[in-house]
Symmetry: C2
Subunit: 454 residues, 2 copies
């Protein structure tokens, strides 16, 4: 088998430029999933990927329709029926690109500067998808596939995967697998290949504060009625206490305690205060006392209002003001319980001068991947071989809706990893992919597939 | 003269339907001054009014260009050279109409239901302009004009009259007058003709709070850096103390103290707590303790954030968050001083985890009209005659940028009055004009012109 491994690594190296050109083509499609104007583009990306997967010579390949954006499915069987089946997960949708004027290149005009490829989706997640395709293609080109492969490429990751669960239920048998490789979770640094051992969950809702029956002239009513914008700001300000802790009653009660050995292992990671400060560009760090930034990011919950919609330049006190709130949930927090805590808090503190309501609540819990799960050691070995260092493991602060749904419906654990770097500006302007890391990632995936077969 | 007066009143009554049809035509022009897309419509309204004024047979009539929207000017000389010159002020621009779905009729499709005419600008201020034109037309139709008339109709009132000052300076002589009648200030109730004895001033600025260098993924940085949206909300929440008083140091120090006799006279007005509560539709009243709603509205300063622009539905901590803040200034407050107070407050309370700045500050002071000013008694007499009640006087909470500029540049005091009612929803959806009140207003203006000549 090692003869095939070496040939596959060689093939991947030789194929690198062609795959890069293909990736650039995929990155020109503005497959923004949270904007109905781009629905056609999202579908175009799915069809692009179906055509690309068909070139691998799959046993099956098709687009699975859902209530929302489709899922691209392909299956490639190993010669050896006892070889495990690995489900490769990725998502072809991307975040919106505003503010456009903060981009130094066109978000959908992929541009290479030095070692980086700049485009929306370069790192999150189209580059990762193409790395997986490149690795499978290399293995398939040089001999029998060492493991059976299934691809599951969804188009709604950036909006919380609302249709994926139904699709998994409808195709439970087709997606059956022994383990899932999810390359959407990133790595800690260029020289630190990483296994993410946990993802935060998510609760998302709109807080609407309502005041007067009509927009009121601020000359006639300023100082006379409570402006819903002020009341909303007061409620948001009250969501954290003076120590930057979330103020909802019981909010931290069920949060998983960090074992001391995990905290010790985190200290060895290259993510200290200085690294977070520099990467963020913020004037100072901020957050819950008693935890490092890495612990706050990966193992503690966080509340962020991500949008306020309120008022207009008209000199008026508006009828209502809204905040779109997100809570990154730590392991063991229950979204439904958190909703109760939010409501109990608001009921206790909201003044009688306005009305408030919670709209469009949705949520999913955090996930944990312990180190004894199938595939963990094979992936770690692949990383040791390619990078020549001991890989890191830590819980990431992000949230991937698919992971919990796959575990619940398919019964399969996800290995959370990937080749995006902390400085890749995913979700922000000037998103990029570091190409030397991407190439190492392709090699590592080739090793991983052969490691699994042994 | 009383023969002419009666003939003019008769003429105005007979002409009422025709003027109403003309008003409906003027109301179809969406002359929104704060939106460059409507610049052509604003000019169209100016040209419509110039044509209408020319039908009065003026001695002069022209459009005066400014750096922004134009001013419509017309002059009609009295036969008697000792008759005073009255400058009639109005504005033909209107506020934006969002939220559109809150309108029950088309904002620019004027519609009569019962006694009301619904349209953006019906009450603020096109209806008032047409009332002044109708009164002058009636007087001119039946004999020599009892007083000389100048019209000054501007197109930037709703954006703070930024170009009016330069125009007044360039045409100081042409606008020279003995007094100004400004019908943009409204009345307290259908049966309460009103002289507004004061207008609040205005300070307007944007507070921008900046945090990270790029939009940050809220999974990677939630709980690690201070979200500028939260920091902005905390700063806004801190702008009022627990008693709903503005928290800036020294903010109330220079505010004019309300004389006890004014407070007594306010108590007779039909504007009690219940009236404000019902008119606003708010769940409760709110504001500075120790003052009635009417006092808070007219004689005390008020801070209102009228818009927040922050974030997006993307799960990101944004680079910045902005609030558009307005402060209605009470008499004797100095806008420049208030700016210093705002900055001193923010410097004292803003945390080191974000940066803040004040952008686009502008302001003008409040104005007062004492009862001994020229024309006050003639206007009060006209109201007594038409309504058969003692007119009210009180300081309004609104702000009209032109009033201070006219006083400063032309040296003329403005009589602040008008025929819009508290329930006319000016600046909001479903703005309307109460037609019986408007007709009484036309009659009162006819009386006023003849009273001035006596």
């Amino acid at each position: 088998m090692s003869q095939n491994l070496n040939a596959a690594l060689q093939h991947a190296r030789e194929n690198r430029d062609e795959v890069l050109i293909e990736l650039r083509d995929l990155l020109t499609i503005p497959s923004i999933s949270d904007n109905p104007e781009h629905d056609g583009d999202v579908r175009r990306a799915a069809e692009w990927l179906l055509a690309r997967l068909k070139r691998l010579g799959p046993d099956r390949a098709q687009i699975l329709e859902t209530a929302g954006h489709p899922v691209v499915f392909a299956e490639l069987l190993a010669a050896n029926p006892s070889a495990p089946t690995v489900l490769l997960y990725g998502h072809y949708d991307v975040q919106a690109v505003e503010p456009l004027d903060a981009w130094e290149t066109e978000p959908f005009g992929p541009t290479i500067h030095g070692y980086n490829l700049y485009a929306r989706g370069a790192s999150d997640d189209k580059g990762q998808i193409m790395a997986m395709i490149a690795a499978v293609e290399a293995a398939k080109a040089v001999g029998p596939l060492p493991v059976s492969i299934k691809f599951m490429l969804e188009g709604e990751e950036e909006v919380g995967s609302p249709s994926l669960g139904e699709c998994l239920k409808a195709h439970r048998g087709e997606f059956a697998c022994n383990l899932v490789l999810n390359t959407d979770a990133g790595m800690l640094g260029e020289n630190t290949p990483t296994l993410v051992t946990g993802l935060r969950g998510m609760a998302r809702f709109t807080l609407r504060v309502t005041g007067p029956a009509n927009d009121l002239h601020s000359g006639g009513y300023g100082g006379v009625v409570h402006n819903p914008i002020h009341a909303l700001c007061e409620l948001i300000a009250g969501m954290h206490d003076a120590d930057a802790r979330v103020a909802f009653p019981g909010f931290y009660d069920s949060v998983r305690e960090l074992p001391e050995e995990e905290r010790e292992s985190f200290k060895k990671l290259p993510l200290n205060d200085e690294a977070f400060l520099q990467e963020s560009g913020s004037p100072a760090l901020w957050g819950e006392p008693g935890f490092t930034p890495l612990e706050r990011q990966g193992a503690r919950p966080a509340l962020d209002v991500i949008q306020i919609t309120a008022g207009s330049p008209k000199a008026a006190i508006p009828v209502f003001a809204e905040a779109l709130c997100t809570i990154r949930l730590a392991p063991y927090q229950d979204p439904a319980k958190v909703r109760e805590q939010v409501e109990a808090h608001l009921a206790a503190v909201a003044p009688p001068t306005i009305r408030w309501e919670i709209l469009d609540f949705s949520g999913f819990p955090a996930t944990l991947t312990e180190l004894d799960k199938p595939g963990v050691q094979e992936l770690m070995d692949a990383y040791r071989t390619v990078w020549g260092v001991e890989p890191a493991y830590y819980p990431s602060g992000g949230s991937i809706g698919a992971v919990g749904q796959i575990l619940e419906i398919l019964g399969a654990h996800s290995l959370l990893t990937g080749f995006s770097l902390p400085g890749d500006h995913i979700h922000g302007p000037n998103e990029k992919l570091h190409l030397p890391t991407w190439e190492k990632g392709i090699s590592a995936l080739v090793h991983f597939l052969y490691n699994l077969a042994e």
